[in-house]
Symmetry: C2
Subunit: 571 residues, 2 copies
């Protein structure tokens, strides 16, 4: 197992054996370890002391269904804390095939701003690594840049790249990765890691695993056996079929029924246009349109769930892939827009800019509250997104996300924690996810521990801390394995599969509760980093207005006790 270190200031590229202390970790867990070991917690996120880290999870490399995710990390300009954002696609797989457990990007050329000629591409293959100038890609959208990169480096490579938003250092900028069909659509979206990549003058990273086989497996038969059980459990799980048919958009009607679908800038939890933006309607439309449209698509090779989709315009042209629930919630109901075509167009623009649709949707909601846009006015939303591409002051404000937009425009009702926007689960109606938003070291993030599928009264404040605790531990574990949030459907049925897979893959002696152990270790490291960065329990709170302003239709407020919030990590 290798580590690649690339210094963007002096151009030094080093291949190293992975240190012993890091060798049992991968993905989110390894990123937390590296952050604690190498990044000064109080450093300026867009300055030279921050590092940008890539690491595939422990199980990546074997096309185990939904288990080839890439974790990207660093100190977040958005939250000021530790950040891990992960994505599907092919980046993790190719890194694993190259034997790279982590890529560590250090330092930067200039403290702020880059000339066109400063931009570079990092190319990593079995033969070595090199930095190459790419002035021709500067300022290009993600789609065009990816297209040029694939022509230049061959269409078998994996790419991680930023759009204009990352180049501009905008705090809601993510890092786009190719899906298995080479579309740059799998974004490590949250927390502004695209801005960190931009601050290092890096437009793209090319991983070329040509000539490399899959990573070695200590006990192939045992691995195959465990894989079989996992795959069967996954395929048999009722949720898997739901997500295959409707994608993540299946959540729209579920959340609406719970009164937890963010509507009109988080002023209601129920949207009168929910049907029109539902997964059911989406599937119907895509089936009817045919052509470029497809309701079922795998983002990475070997995925049995296939929750992704292709949204076409009905005249043969592709608009965006995938159209996901979070985008539908934040750019649809949250903006009072009940039209999937409009949402898809906005999604495409935001993807091409290389931005997080969640934070951007929330920011546009704040802009609605500030009077810059009327709810439901998709054309105006597209104009506002164009301000970002043009780099105007307003565009920069929006591109920094919802928290910044609220501060600049003087709107207090902003749905953020630690500066990061909430996803499409209203925390006053789905309070366990609210506990996760409040306490996760990542800031508000449903993938850090969503409780929406728990069988409980989601309005009852007394039961939520325990739900969030369990979900946060599991998710930190899955993120360390490189497993998708939905892989949990397969693992949960037969928890012995996780230790079995790790033992078979690495030959390690693994405890039966390894998933929880990895999750707890990861969360503890992340919390330690944040503590050193200056975070306290005062930061583990939902915004004040959500504890006071009632959310229709249940007229509920967020009322999980502060004691419960402070006890989430007492396990």
């Amino acid at each position: 197992m290798l580590i690649w270190r690339v210094n963007l200031e002096n151009g030094k590229l080093q291949r190293e054996k992975i240190p012993e202390a890091w060798s049992r970790l991968g993905g989110r867990g390894l990123l937390a370890r590296i952050m604690l070991d190498e990044v000064p917690p109080r450093c300026e996120p867009l300055g030279p002391l921050n590092r940008l880290l890539f690491s595939p999870g422990l199980l990546v490399g074997h096309m185990l269904s939904s288990c080839d995710r890439i974790s990207v990390g660093g100190k977040s300009p958005l939250t000021g804390g530790i950040k891990e954002a992960n994505a599907g696609g092919t980046t993790g797989l190719q890194m694993a095939c190259l034997g790279i457990r982590a890529l560590v990007l250090e330092d930067q050329v200039a403290a702020s701003g880059h000339a066109k000629t400063d931009w570079r591409v990092l190319h990593v293959s079995a033969g070595g690594a090199r930095l190459e100038p790419c002035a021709d890609l500067a300022g290009l959208g993600v789609a065009e840049a990816a297209d040029k990169l694939l022509r230049r480096y061959g269409d078998k490579v994996a790419l991680a790249l930023i759009g204009p938003a990352g180049e501009m250092g905008l705090w809601a900028a993510g890092i786009q990765n190719l899906d298995k069909d080479r579309t740059p659509s799998r974004i490590a979206a949250r927390g502004g890691l695209g801005a960190v990549m931009g601050s290092k003058g890096l437009k793209a990273i090319v991983f070329d695993a040509a000539g490399c086989g899959k990573p070695p497996i200590a006990d192939p038969d045992a691995f195959k056996e465990a894989q079989k059980i996992f795959s069967r459990n996954l395929v048999d799980h009722p949720q898997t079929g739901l997500y295959r048919d409707y994608g993540t958009a299946a959540m729209a009607l579920t959340c609406n029924a719970l009164g937890g679908l963010p509507t009109r800038a988080f002023s209601s939890g129920r949207f009168e246009g929910a049907e029109a933006i539902s997964g059911e309607h989406l599937r119907e439309e895509l089936l009817a349109r045919g052509g470029a449209s497809n309701p079922t698509h795998a983002c990475m090779p070997g995925c049995a769930i296939r929750c992704s989709n292709h949204f076409g315009d009905g005249e043969g042209r592709s608009v965006v892939t995938p159209l996901e629930y979070e985008t539908i919630g934040l750019m649809g109901s949250n903006l009072g827009i009940a039209d999937l075509d409009t949402i898809a167009r906005m999604n495409a623009v935001v993807n091409d800019l290389g931005l997080d649709t969640i934070d951007l949707g929330a920011a546009l909601g704040v802009a609605c509250r500030a009077g810059l846009m009327a709810f439901g006015d998709g054309e105006r939303a597209l104009q506002l997104l164009d301000e970002i591409r043009r780099g105007t002051p307003l565009g920069r404000v929006l591109g920094h996300g919802a928290a910044m937009t609220g501060k600049v425009l003087g709107v207090l009702q902003v749905p953020v924690v630690k500066g990061q926007a909430m996803s499409a689960y209203e925390p006053r109606a789905i309070k366990g996810t609210g506990v996760t938003y409040a306490t996760s070291p990542q800031g508000a993030d449903h993938t850090a521990g969503n409780t929406v599928r728990a069988k409980c009264d989601h309005l009852d404040p007394s039961v939520q801390a325990a739900l969030s605790r369990a979900a946060q531990i599991s998710m930190a574990g899955y993120d360390t394995l490189g497993a998708c949030i939905f892989a949990g459907f397969g693992f949960a049925v037969a928890p012995e599969v996780v230790p079995a897979l790790l033992h078979a893959r690495y030959g390690w002696d693994v405890l039966p509760d390894i998933l929880q152990a990895l999750g707890k270790e990861t969360l503890a490291m992340e919390r330690e980093f944040n503590k050193r960065a200056g975070f306290t329990p005062a930061h583990d709170r939902l915004p004040e207005w959500m504890t006071r302003e009632q959310l229709p239709p249940h007229n509920s407020v967020f009322d999980v006790s502060e004691d419960d919030l402070d006890g989430v990590f007492d396990w």
Copy 2:
């Protein structure tokens, strides 16, 4: 001694006897006590749970030279911590004559934004208090609004009012007060308390002490005796004469000689145009111009120092009063502008908007680094200030101060601590003041403990923490007395005067080191509030770039040790 409580939500106005626990405090110390007792430390600064507080210091009301200052407080939208900003003028004096030790403004009508008809004036007199609508004042600049208020309520009243910036909720908005000649020019500038006032829908407060005498004195003869000693020491002090002749602008050449005059966005400590913006040149000009110009002016009745001035255009018209060193540093050398007339015009605009010239000057410096303005281009600076008046997105960004401007525009080299801009003492050249910037609960603020006059090597990091500690304690003490920073010239020579005055005024048994005791008590309360609000030692630091980027001409960095910073409050 009274407390007035005014609830801006339900319009309730209550006169109360001061609680025993508050009765021995005034000014900054009392504000800290009230904040700890009544304001949830994690509350949204512009939301209903924050309070806006006014309190004259303990010695206010007797026209003791330089000792009639008003302290304004609340939780700062700029720093997120406790805030006290004080000002000269007549507000403190009239409050003291009315027997009011504190005015507590609670709650608000709306969470954000006010209709024109929502704006109100609070009128307080011996007869009672009332809220009156003032739709005609909404949106008006400070000068025009003050003029209308004086016509409406009589020209003997004191005023505390906000300009358009406070109405817009901009984080660099202050609260303007009348000087003894009824010009609204004495601003409680720092930390955005004008935005807090705006969030409560209050455009102005009128204090009418008609019919009230001076506050009672327990032992008038002893008071007079102590006052005599104080006044003589003050007048005899060599610094007093310096400030009388040159105003605070006397510091320009001093700081330039130390290599600590902020120049071109804090990229140098020496300005080639320093002579042209010096106090010496200012005095010469004002004497030559005559008419509205006057190099020596008292901001409050009875002041023996008279460090204020009137800047006229040489053709009989007044431009601004006063033109102070901080403005000259931040809007002059910091912007590469070596012309007092340009600086005075900018100062007048910023005063009328009701903004802090320090944070605005620093913000414009950041705008220069971002390429929005060329250094030295005063006309462009005036255009940018006009963006604020028009409330454009860029204007709002600038009006939120330097920290916000840096974040939005992607500039990392921003001279702020806890979100508040540094004053005109470069902390890499005057490191003791740098320690104060880093550690003060107020954020970067020279008035929290300036060490520039200390006889020491200002570049030697090893001696600065002790200097800052002593200065911070004294200043917190003076701010609790209501004494101007320059009153210290008089008190320092004969420290027994402070306890003598307090004993004579109130009949209290007072310890000989009461000034230090008040200062320590105040700082401890402020730090406790900030701790509860989520501040840690991680926040008591200068920005990272100042520890790395060398400052000409000494090529020094800020290198006071973190141990020294963490030990500042270990007394």
